[in-house]
Symmetry: C2
Subunit: 137 residues, 2 copies
Amino acid sequence: MIARLLEERGIRATANRILVAGALARSGRPLSLMELEDMIGSVDKSGIFRCLSVFKEKHLVHAIDDSEGTRYELCLSHGPDSDDDTHVHFYCERCHRTFCLENLHIPPVTLPKGYDARTANYVLKGVCPYCNGYSNA
Amino acid sequence: MIARLLEERGIRATANRILVAGALARSGRPLSLMELEDMIGSVDKSGIFRCLSVFKEKHLVHAIDDSEGTRYELCLSHGPDSDDDTHVHFYCERCHRTFCLENLHIPPVTLPKGYDARTANYVLKGVCPYCNGYSNA
DNA sequence: GTTCTTGCAAAATATTTGCAAGACG
DNA sequence: CGTCTTGCAAATATTTTGCAAGAAC
């Protein structure tokens, strides 16, 4: 249940927050502010924005950078203190949606000395199965 | 020489284009529209924008998506018909610059059936050597 | 009643386009 | 000349904040 999830992360479960987190949970893919706005309708964009800010702070969501800007994704796989969600994403240039490739972990690279990485963003771009005619995918 | 580079890609070497391409070449890292604007000064942002549009079309630059939006990088490693530039980038959360890790090729992943990838964007985020005190890096 | 949350409007940013003047071939 | 390019201003798009009213504790 969404409300419980929020509380577990120390976020008060208000109506808006339940709607936003619920939309993210149901969609199964990262959503932009605008996508959330369209999807929810009843909540003003500033409200969505503020929900996302709280979620980000509490590490309930993390941000994906793709061609459209930023999308937000629930990260449920870990505790409230880290961002260890590290799968590859796929941005479809045809339908402009971004998908999670849950099973594809981002292959790590060895950084040159001095670089200190905290998070990784690996996004492939091309055409998704739905736009490709693989509607059975 | 920059002018020749442009001509080779079928781009007329105008003053603005030489300035923009030159700035990208000199910087050695991907630059955002705003960074280019600051760096060049004499060219209006719309001019820079249009230069970048042409460059993109001719595959002289390609785009990196990072936390700040889009940055542009010269891609010299290939012919005029493809975008095969595939190294990892590093976005510094302290100084907000993005670096090329030229030697780190993006490790390929095997996509599920139906996905058809054209380009890849792999950006690590954290603290760069300069902000880390590795000034000798 | 004090603090947190929300909606609306508006500010702040960033990107993109229209258009007339100028450069180029 | 006709086409391409440029600068300026302005339109778009997007993200973020101010503020007063309302809800929660």
